[in-house]
């Protein structure tokens, strides 16, 4: 299989314009004849549903929650980037593009990233027009802040709830199309299979999570917008129900999975407090704008933080990276924290945390300004830890947060299955090996509002899509398969709960496929995952029935898919003999402990083809070509 990224010809700034012109159009009167299936209603899914509905397509939107507004985009705190250059501080589309390619450690497609930077400007305009209450200055103009390793102020924000406000904007636009009769909502539905007919994606099998019924849904195109797979680590900042199931089942139907080992560890999360912990809570990295990260200079210094005088503190980020200091990108900050904790300098009862200290900022700016900037984050921290960060430094530690890998898509966001498009975090395309802060919201909305509406229209206009009934053998086969898997899970009747298995899987992943990886650890991980998977199918217990609401069964199905997917993640990490972005292989580092990329051998997208559970997947390579930005070692010193 040759992977064709379908990147338009011509200079970077003209590529998207050119593609839009090349695209075939669908006559407005004909659009209502097309049914487009959208799975997931986060930023990508809701915005795509809104935009396609506005154009006149019939959209069916499926989501696992009770309301589309619950999607995990809602939890994004910090902001959304756009190359508006409202600050006059040297920003431009080119600079946002450059920063994103560099930040992604040269493992993303230039053309995709350039388009993302171009569209960032339109996103802000669209969101403001739909009433998203971004922060304002006293003159009424939009406010900006600098965020996550950027040296310009290009981040737009709505307090610490930017994701919530952007999602509600997209949700409202989608509901406007529900009101208009163009979008139909299917709540509490989980996609269990993709239906492929004559090589084209023509529908999905869903489980109604209230009645347990399996449903066959037909359409002319399927858009998967189901987010990332961070919960394969059990503990992550993802929502409890975020899962890889829909993406994984599509992968098993032939969609290649790209770069699964590119996972992002977020440096500023609230540390783990015990085994009962069900998720980790992120503190926006905007905190690093004003706080200083430190650990004691002396190992095992058990003094309270305010008793440790300045000379006994190690502000290790400022020490190692004098020019970026506390604002180094996420992967760099996370590894530096792990390095200190591994060396025995960590703080807190477990030693698995570092201080994030606002003392100096409070002295410099006053408590009121700090409260205005971070009040809600401080509240959240105090609520969880019962410690007051105005008085005691926060304790933070890295946690799995975002996954750059995902289903492989071309420039049109189409996967290797015609008619099957993948948007947002679920695809792999724009962030390379590491995502910069405030870029996830940007990508979700770029894909949904501005890209998919053009490329999906082009697909349905050009493809031959014969009429189809849901009695077609492909639907029949997919439904039978889905049912068989449910029955198989219920029939194990073992002794261990799905949560126990999930927790054990998470431990394997965090220990061997986490922030730092090496060959022998990864081999151990693969073995352990296989053993655990076998145990799962012999010993999991799932009470209840399949014909009514059974959250335990839903969860068990997702854990079963993680068990398969985890192996692919580990194998991808094992094959990539270099360190880049979120993928740090201990064998490949510079003498001072920085990531060492290998552009001669690994400057490609690793797209994996499914060949069976436990079987070696087939690797397909999409070479990456850099015409504009020349790969160099990322340096934040």
């Amino acid at each position: 299989m040759t992977l064709d990224g379908k990147i338009p010809a011509g200079p970077l700034p003209e590529k998207w314009e050119r593609r839009k012109f090349e695209n075939k159009l669908v006559n407005p009167a004909n659009r209502r004849k097309y049914e487009i299936i959208i799975v997931g209603t986060g930023l990508a899914g809701a915005s795509a549903a809104a935009a396609l509905g506005e154009q006149g397509y019939r959209v069916k939107a499926f989501f696992i929650h009770d309301s589309p507004r619950r999607a995990h985009s809602i939890a994004a705190q910090g902001g959304i980037n756009a190359a508006k250059n409202y600050r006059n501080d040297g920003d431009s589309i080119y600079r946002l593009f450059y920063d994103t390619v560099k930040g992604g450690d040269y493992r993303s497609r230039e053309a995709n990233v350039y388009r993302l930077a171009q569209l960032s400007v339109d996103i802000i305009d669209q969101c403001v027009a739909t009433g998203v209450p971004f922060a304002r200055e006293y003159g009424g103009l939009l406010d900006n802040r600098s965020f996550g390793g950027a040296q310009v102020s290009r981040t737009f924000y709505a307090r610490g709830q930017t994701g919530q406000q952007l999602l509600l904007g997209a949700y409202q636009s989608m509901l406007r199309q529900v009101d208009a009769g163009n979008v139909t909502l299917y709540s509490r539905r989980e996609m269990l299979d993709l239906v492929v007919v004559d090589g084209q994606a023509r529908g999905i099998i869903t489980r109604n999570l209230i009645t347990g019924e399996l449903e066959r849904n037909e359409g002319q195109a399927v858009l998967l917008c189901t987010g990332g797979y961070g919960n394969v680590y059990y503990l992550s900042t993802n929502a409890i129900n975020s899962n890889v199931t829909a993406a994984w089942r599509a992968h098993k139907r032939g969609a290649l999975f790209a770069n699964p080992c590119f996972t992002q560890i977020h440096p500023t999360c609230i540390p783990v407090s015990g085994d009962h912990q069900s998720k980790l809570t992120l503190m926006s990295e905007s905190l690093r704008n004003d706080a200083r990260v430190w650990v004691p200079k002396n190992k095992g210094d058990k003094r309270a933080p305010d008793q440790i005088p300045e000379p006994d503190r190690d502000y290790y980020l400022e020490r190692r990276y004098p020019s970026f200091g506390n604002l180094v990108p996420r992967d760099v900050a996370s590894r530096a924290a792990k390095e200190r904790a591994d060396e025995g300098y960590g703080v807190g009862e477990t030693g698995l945390s570092v201080y994030l200290d606002f003392k100096e900022a409070i002295e410099r700016l006053g408590i009121e300004i700090i409260k205005a900037r971070y009040g809600n984050l401080f509240e959240m921290y105090e609520r969880i830890t019962a410690e007051d960060p105005y008085k005691v430094p926060m304790r933070i530690y890295p946690a799995i947060h975002y996954t750059m890998g995902g289903l492989w898509v071309d420039y049109n966001l189409q996967s290797t299955i015609p008619g099957f498009f993948v948007l947002g975090e679920a695809n792999f395309s724009d962030h390379g090996a590491n995502r910069l802060g405030a870029s996830a919201l940007m990508q979700g909305l770029a894909d949904g509002y501005f890209i998919a509406p053009y490329t999906v229209a082009n697909y349905v206009a050009a493809a031959t899509l014969p009429k189809l009934s849901t009695d077609h053998p492909a639907f029949q086969e997919a439904a039978v398969n889905s049912q068989a898997r449910i029955d198989r899970i219920l029939n194990v009747k073992g002794k261990r709960t799905m949560r126990q298995f999930h927790r054990e899987l998470g431990r394997i992943m965090w220990d061997y496929v986490g922030m730092a990886r090496n060959e022998s650890g990864l081999r151990t991980a693969v073995d352990n995952i296989r053993t655990l998977r076998d145990e799962f199918w012999k010993d999991v217990t799932v009470p209840g029935e399949k014909n009514n609401m059974n959250p335990a069964l839903d969860y068990a199905g997702r854990v079963a898919d993680y068990m398969e997917f985890a192996e692919l993640l580990a194998l991808d990490a094992l094959h990539r003999n270099e360190s880049c972005g979120g993928h740090f292989r201990e064998e490949f580092q510079t003498p001072d402990g920085e990531a060492r990329r290998d552009d001669d051998h690994y400057s490609y997208v690793a797209a994996w083809e499914f060949t069976g559970v436990g079987a070696q997947p087939v690797l397909h390579k999409e070479p990456l070509e850099f015409q504009e930005v020349h790969p160099s070692q990322r340096s934040y010193k």
Binding site: E137, L175, S187, N241
Partner: protein, 271 residues
């Protein structure tokens, strides 16, 4: 924003990260399905770390139930950061439990004492039918938003964002209303099961902003009518909703909605 008074009342226990373990006696509403009768069932939750969240405590209870082959307690929850609005149950008679400005997922067990009895029930309202145990159907909220809780701008051709000026203070007020997470606690707390706070918050946000003004009157009329059509009750101004709102949205949003509605109806606007 949590005010100092509430903070003292709600989160006064300055326990440290060093956790204790406690035992609590639960009385939980169990209902197998939508159209079946339910009842309160007793459970004992042992060795509960006070660092656990309330939902993590329920996770532990469910683990035990599953190991015994029993059906776990169904409840909705997702982000567990207090922002998605999925979770919520009535804890000792109060939606989201005893802490002001706190969703159920952010309530921690350090708030409870060893041996305490805790009743756990679903939201109860005609417009929120129970699906199973503590999980209810809140799709009525989506239908209220679909009746006009948006600004009619299609993708493409929006003017430059800075051409729309929004005074800082107005923007802040709009953001206060926009913070609603649609959890439904306001409905659960109200003796009339009114959805005025939820509906009023969206109407207030959109009425304050300069965008979308041409549809301002039609919006409020349609949303209020939809709210009634869903079976939510009337507002009798008791403020129970405001008291339990995890985002501390004040009932001035209801007053604003009623002003908007009156203004629109007097102007002769019909849906």
């Amino acid at each position: 924003m949590i005010h100092e008074g509430q903070r003292a009342e709600g989160r006064g226990q300055k326990a440290s990260m060093s956790a204790k373990t406690i035992t609590v006696n639960l009385k939980v509403w169990r209902q197998p399905a939508k159209d079946q009768p339910g009842r309160m069932v007793d459970y004992v939750a042992k060795e509960i770390s006070t660092d656990m969240s309330f939902l993590e405590m329920l996770d532990v209870v469910n683990e035990d139930l599953m190991r015994k082959g029993q059906d776990p307690i169904a409840f909705d929850s997702d982000c567990r950061e207090g922002i998605c609005g999925s979770c919520g149950c009535v804890i000792n008679g109060v939606p989201h439990g005893p802490d002001a400005g706190t969703a159920t997922c952010q309530l921690h067990m350090r708030r409870f004492t060893d041996g305490q009895t805790i009743t756990v029930e679903p939201w109860r309202a005609r417009a929120f039918p129970v699906l199973k145990d503590l999980a209810v159907d809140r799709s009525a909220f989506d239908r209220i938003i679909a009746a006009g809780g948006y600004i009619s701008v299609s993708v493409g051709g929006a003017q430059d964002a800075n051409n729309i000026l929004v005074p800082h203070d107005l923007q802040e007020q709009a953001m206060d209303s926009a913070a609603c997470i649609a959890c439904g606690a306001c409905v659960a707390a109200c003796k009339n099961a009114a959805a005025h706070l939820f509906t009023g918050a969206k109407i207030t946000q959109l009425a304050l902003l300069p965008q979308g003004h041409p549809e301002r009157e039609l919006r409020v009329v349609r949303m209020v009518e939809q709210m009634h059509a869903e079976g939510f009750g009337a507002c009798s101004n008791e403020g129970e909703c405001e008291a339990v709102c995890p985002k501390l949205i004040p009932i001035s949003n209801i007053a604003k909605m009623i002003r908007e509605y009156t203004r629109a109806v007097w102007a002769g606007v019909k849906s």
